[in-house]
Subunit: 349 residues, 2 copies
Amino acid sequence: MENPSKADPRTVAWVDDTVALIDQKALPQVQRSIRCRTVERVADAIADLEVRGAPAIGVAAAMGVALAAHTSTASELPVLLAELHAAADMLRATRPTAVNLAWAVDQVLSAAVAADGVDGVRSATLERAQTLADDDVDRCHAIGANGGPLLSHASNVITHCNAGALATVEYGTALGVIRAAHDRHPDLHVWVDETRPVLQGARLTSYELTRDGVANTLIADGAAASVIARGDVDAAVVGADRIAANGDVANKIGTYALALACHYHEIPFYVAAPLSTVDLDTPDGRSIPIEERSPDEITRVGDTHLTLPGQSVHNPAFDVTPAGLVTAVITEAGVLRAPYRTSLAQAFA
Amino acid sequence: MENPSKADPRTVAWVDDTVALIDQKALPQVQRSIRCRTVERVADAIADLEVRGAPAIGVAAAMGVALAAHTSTASELPVLLAELHAAADMLRATRPTAVNLAWAVDQVLSAAVAADGVDGVRSATLERAQTLADDDVDRCHAIGANGGPLLSHASNVITHCNAGALATVEYGTALGVIRAAHDRHPDLHVWVDETRPVLQGARLTSYELTRDGVANTLIADGAAASVIARGDVDAAVVGADRIAANGDVANKIGTYALALACHYHEIPFYVAAPLSTVDLDTPDGRSIPIEERSPDEITRVGDTHLTLPGQSVHNPAFDVTPAGLVTAVITEAGVLRAPYRTSLAQAFA
């Protein structure tokens, strides 16, 4: 598991009857794989951010359901299906914001329900999970192909969090667009927001880009606005955890501040995501549940305590960028523009 | 040195022929004092952020010059004055952005030049440095008295970095305004930006406020915009490291992003600073030198390495908020408003 970039092992894979995950809490210092032998272990890995990124946790959860089927000792179909529904509930409860997770779990459940017999369920769930993984790779490459040309005149782009190979099965969404653009003009340079509190930009995005030979510079999140103000950013590209029917985008906390800076300085702000991130049942951003995570993410880094015990903390994992600040949504079905209620609905049609 | 709040020892003080500093790198876990016995040690303390905050480093540098006079073995006046000019040059070179430092050093040098004989220089420099320290306390209380009423209808304010007792001799500038407002309505609540990369918000501001009984909640810098967007912030109050003649404000990196969020959501954005922070010789923000600090501040927290070795980093310590985004500048001479070129000049008149 030396290298998470293009040519390397997948972020999430089915290996020897386990769900194999690149351990994203250990990166970049340690490259290692986690082998999940139970669905409970998959759920823990998702909740604890050993695997993260909306598309990646979708595929991990899908494989988690397949793993539940695989490890079940049930010999009666109704018993097995009940177990899978319980596994699905557990997986859905791990993280509420990214809609890909619930979507992928439902896809595998549907395959289970349509299958014949317990052995049929076991093979159908795994097959569907594998298909979702393969589809994710194809979708990311399509997103890159669709979005890359938008950056054809960009010398410097900025991204927030990690929407890369490590957030997907491979290649990435926002970083897929950046990779595709970099293939066309290798002098492209990327500003990487470190992305507090979990520092996915510092730990994962700069690692991925450097491994792929993409020039990148790490900055504190608070430095993005001044880098933009001095004219050193041509576009922003970020991923998404859920896109509402009106085009409002939930993404990693800090995305909205970046969008505001782009808006003020008239820089394009692109969101790259597969259609599985779009939730037409969520009318707008106010309806998106925002996960509140542990205060420890704010008050500690490694073994270093930053505050005194008992410090009051607000730690939302995501924020909502209103559709009006989004220049385009780059999907596998094309580049969608406002009005998003129409363009998103059409993309599904 | 248990408590840096109102009733407690000063952040910077002359104690037993040393410059005594509250060690701000050790806070909040360890409360201890550093005793500087040489001007070189004072310069190191400023460069290494053991003392930080524009007014505090001004007073520390002033006392550094006095310490240079005190420890000098020169018996000839020209020799002593040459030593003091060299000490002043060394102190000025520690940090380029905050204009208070150069201003305070020049004040003490002027006292030295005006004094009679080597003993006269020794007493005059210490007297002037002590006066600057006492003045700083008075100015902060005046800033609080002038600015507190601006928050009389605020339930929630937000601040960035630490412009508190620890950034001044005591009481603070932005936190002086907040303390004064809190004295009037003790239900005031403060959102504290953690302030990457050096985390002065997490380590110092929340510590100061909690010690003083001011309710506060720590957030990642990237969360400020979404807290503002949902209507939970009534005003922002920050300090400044240099205010140009046109009202552009250099302050801790991340301030500009906060100002943009306030602007977009029509929330007042106040800057609190003594007139010693105003530099009428700097025409606008583009002329303010912005200190670039070590990549280590971004790539490491405590003993935890966040990136692989050699990661490219941009680490500006400050950014510039244009005057057009500043609702008012709160000084000891009153609350100044646009056009700042006029109001700032008048404040000095």
